[in-house]
């Protein structure tokens, strides 16, 4: 009897570290999922959609996702806290919604870097277009370019982060100054659309989803696709920059991802990456999220996401001279 017990004890000792190996990680407690923007916003909807999908498909061992919105310091405090999570159970049960619009201000204004996180996946991509309003002075982007060249001042309204980076890429390609083709940063795309509906600016930059209803209602018309391929549906008429003149297409990848803290164990990272992949491949995700928000379904797995985000960070740091 004693022998059996001893063997059992030894066996359990050996198997304990084994069972924690490879894909054998399972959530043992509730998962804290940090979102660094306010409830009701795009990132919040994205996070709650994924966590709901995971709960429904029982991908988290019956544990609950606690989505917490940490908005202190423009989100930097939340990101910093996640990056500093000490290794252990807590690190394995902490996720962070991480988008291109989060990475840019983070590396620009703080010393926090992607290296302090474990990239898990990129779930979707988005691109922008330029639109004109109903009573627009310039009807095509070609007219805009000609007007700017003849000394007129043209103003684009857009949102923060991604839109600013796209705009900077655009004027660089067009060889215009910020004074010739100006850009007004709004808190949100809807604020930017407000200003073009009132006729206060010439162009508005928006992603397809935010502009969709206005295009359907005839209030906005797409005039330039900031992409290397044309859009589909009611946006298909918008030409790319290379179709407007002898320019290169301008495209700035806007992406939505998920990361964990740097200290997350490889087993936990593999587990979450796999769960995220399952969500991304589900029909509900394709239809109710990607389809509804008119995103590009470009899922990148753990390795690819890491490579992509790293490259993105390097390029961005270079572009701002850091």
């Amino acid at each position: 009897m004693k022998k059996i017990l001893a063997i059992a004890a030894i066996a359990s000792l050996i198997s304990a570290p084994l069972s924690a190996g490879a894909s054998d990680f399972t959530p043992k407690k509730d998962i804290e999922w940090v979102v660094t923007s306010s409830p009701g916003g795009g990132s919040d909807i994205y996070t709650r959609f994924i966590s709901d999908a995971m709960t429904k498909a029982n991908l988290a061992n019956g544990k609950t996702f606690l989505v917490t919105n940490k908005t202190d310091g423009g989100g930097e405090v939340g990101r910093l806290n996640v990056s500093r999570t000490a290794a252990g159970t807590r690190a394995d049960h902490t996720l962070l919604t991480f988008n291109s619009g989060d990475l840019m201000p983070m590396v620009k204004n703080t010393s926090n870097r992607l290296a302090n996180f474990t990239p898990l996946a990129i779930m979707a991509e988005d691109k922008q277009l330029l639109f004109i309003g109903e009573s627009a002075k310039y009807k095509t982007f070609d007219e805009v370019i000609k007007a700017v060249k003849s000394g007129a001042k043209v103003v684009i309204a857009g949102s923060k982060g991604d839109d600013v980076a796209t705009y900077e890429k655009l004027i660089k390609e067009l060889k215009f100054t910020e004074d010739q083709l100006a850009f007004i940063v709004n808190d949100s795309t809807s604020a930017a659309i407000t200003s073009i509906l009132g006729g206060h600016v010439d162009l508005v930059m928006s992603k397809p989803a935010a502009a969709d209803q206005y295009v359907v209602a005839g209030k906005l018309t797409p005039v330039l696709a900031l992409s290397s391929t044309r859009f589909t549906g009611n946006l298909r008429d918008a030409p790319r920059l290379s179709e407007v003149g002898s320019y290169q297409d301008v495209e700035f990848p806007v992406w939505r991802g998920v990361v964990g803290p740097k200290t997350m164990s490889p087993e936990a990272a593999a587990f979450w990456a796999k769960s995220l992949k399952t969500v991304a491949e589900s029909e509900a995700w394709q239809k109710d999220y990607i389809g509804k928000f008119k995103l590009i379904p470009s899922f990148l797995d753990q390795q690819a996401a890491k490579a992509f985000m790293t490259k993105f960070e390097q390029d961005y740091l270079k572009s701002i001279g850091k």
Partner: protein
């Protein structure tokens, strides 16, 4: 006529047992959330939003809509009884509400005045919304950066002259509020300002904990102070009958409430202005009309003008939201996120594509208005008893609410820290007789003024002409210049008449 039919159809959507139930639930929650210092409509709607993800969209928005709406009623309660505005639009209510409740010993009437004015203001807003919804939204669109700049200049310059008896203190505090509001990320370039290398300060000073500290926690310290000096006198018994409004009160209440209801509705439609700016403007306008008692001393007109305005604004802000898919306030933005989540496409086609939803929501506002009035009325007898609760019990209660409220804004102790520091600041200011309202108003308005002014200059390439081009901004700029020149003109003219009189002698 068509709109009335649509509204009636909206009522038929609304009058199912579950929608009526959630209207009541929303209204009651809204009153509670509104009355709690710091937890305003934004936090209330944001906290409840995740709960509604699985509701059907009409039911969900009816609940959140009535919560948002009833919140405007509740905010006045603690402002009047404790001098602690439950949410930021109630900052102005406290100016007259608290003196009326304490100095004039008419707490019941003060609460009733605020209730009735809220009801009237909201009702006016809803009528305007029903008949002119999309047209109203289009008026809002006319306010571009230059028009908003001109309007905000008028508002900012009138703060000092409006609040408190000493204009130079008012000016100083306005500038202090502007300075504080400058901290954090520059909205136009995304570069940090006055962050002192601290990542928390990158996001600036969070508004809610700041307000809770300035007006709530500082009041706790003031109460403790008073308690040391003298024991609280037992106030005479407050009965329901004793707190009913007199005919005379109603007569004083009506004109400002009607005016502010209309004004507030328009303020609510303007992009990003919101209920706080509306109640402020309502009060400012009242200052130029005749009041029986001076504003700030517990005048019925003062309470009525700001309460009607903020409820009008709450109703008005639904116009751009429903007609164009544009949020008129922070709370509107959260509701907009909700619409998307519930599977609707907010935008210019919402009225056409989802009439049941849009009109059901408008109908629910009418119901919420009545429900909130009834509920608020029902709790007044209980509420005025708060005044007779001993200070030693009130102090810990308010302190707990202050801490919870400031913690919940960003789920961190940073909010609590901000609340404590601004509480001490508010206390010191009170001791030296500096009013807190100018700081708070400047803090709310300054970021709006800054971003609109800089946007105008981007559009005009730095030329000032833009502020005089459109008739709207020209009109506001004229008012602004008149306000600026008025004291100077009065000084010159005043001394002129004096000398004339002296020579006549």
């Amino acid at each position: 006529m068509e709109n009335i039919n649509m509204l009636l159809q909206g009522f038929s959507v609304l009058l199912t047992w579950q929608n009526v139930f959630v209207t009541f639930l929303g209204a009651i929650l809204g009153l509670i959330v509104g009355a709690m210092p710091g937890i305003g409509s934004l936090a209330g709607v944001a906290l409840l939003l995740p709960l509604t993800y699985s509701f059907n969209p009409t039911t969900a928005v009816i609940m959140l809509g009535s919560l948002y709406y009833a919140n405007m009623f509740g905010g006045a309660f603690s402002a009047i009884l404790l001098n602690i505005p439950g949410d930021s639009p109630a900052v102005m209510t406290a100016l007259d509400g608290y003196p009326m409740a304490t100095v004039k010993k008419r707490p019941g009437q003060a609460l009733l005045v605020s209730n009735f004015s809220s009801f009237i203001g909201g009702f006016i807003g809803m009528i305007i919304l029903t008949f002119t919804g999309p047209a109203l939204a289009n008026i809002g669109l006319k306010f571009g950066p230059s028009e908003m700049t001109a309007l905000l200049l008028v508002a900012m310059t009138s703060i000092g002259w409006l609040v408190g008896e000493n204009p130079s203190k008012g000016l100083l505090l306005t500038l202090f509020g502007i300075l504080l509001a400058c901290m954090g990320m520059d909205t136009l370039t995304g570069s940090p300002r006055y962050d002192f290398g601290n990542e928390y300060l990158l996001g600036g000073i969070p508004f809610t904990p700041f307000v809770i500290g300035m007006v709530g926690f500082s009041q706790v310290m003031i109460l403790m102070d008073e308690r040391l000096v003298k024991a609280k006198e037992v106030t005479e018994k407050l009965t329901i009958r004793g707190s009913l409004l007199t005919k005379h009160d109603l007569k004083r209440l009506l004109p400002p409430a009607l005016r502010s209801g209309v004004l507030g509705t328009f303020m609510g439609v303007l992009p990003g202005a919101g209920a706080t700016a509306a109640s402020f403007m309502g009060y400012a306008v009242q200052k130029s009309f005749k009041s029986e008692e001076p504003l700030g001393s517990g005048a019925v007109e003062g309470i009525a003008s700001c309460e009607a305005a903020n409820n009008g604004a709450a109703a008005g802000s639904f116009a751009p939201l429903l007609a164009l898919g544009i949020p008129g306030s922070g709370t509107g933005a959260v509701l907009l996120g909700g619409l998307m989540l519930w599977g609707l496409n907010p935008g210019p086609l919402l009225f056409t594509n989802e009439p049941d939803f849009a009109w059901g929501l408008i109908a629910s506002l009418f119901l919420a208005n009545v429900v909130a009035l009834m509920c608020a009325w029902g709790v007044i007898p209980l509420l005025i008893k708060i005044l007779s609760v001993p200070t030693r019990l009130i102090i810990p209660c308010i302190t707990v609410i202050c801490i919870v409220g400031s913690y919940s804004t960003s789920n961190s102790m940073y909010g609590v820290l901000v609340m404590l520091i601004s509480g001490v600041l508010g206390y010191v200011m009170h001791k030296f007789r500096y009013p807190a309202a100018p700081v708070l108003l400047a803090f709310v308005l300054a970021p709006m003024l800054e971003s609109n002014m800089r946007k105008s200059f981007i559009i005009s390439r730095g030329s000032l002409d833009i502020f005089f081009d459109s008739p709207l901004s020209l009109a506001f700029m004229t008012i602004f210049i008149v306000i600026l020149l008025f004291p100077a003109a009065r000084a010159v003219f005043g001394s002129f008449t004096r000398t004339k009189m002296e020579t006549a002698k």
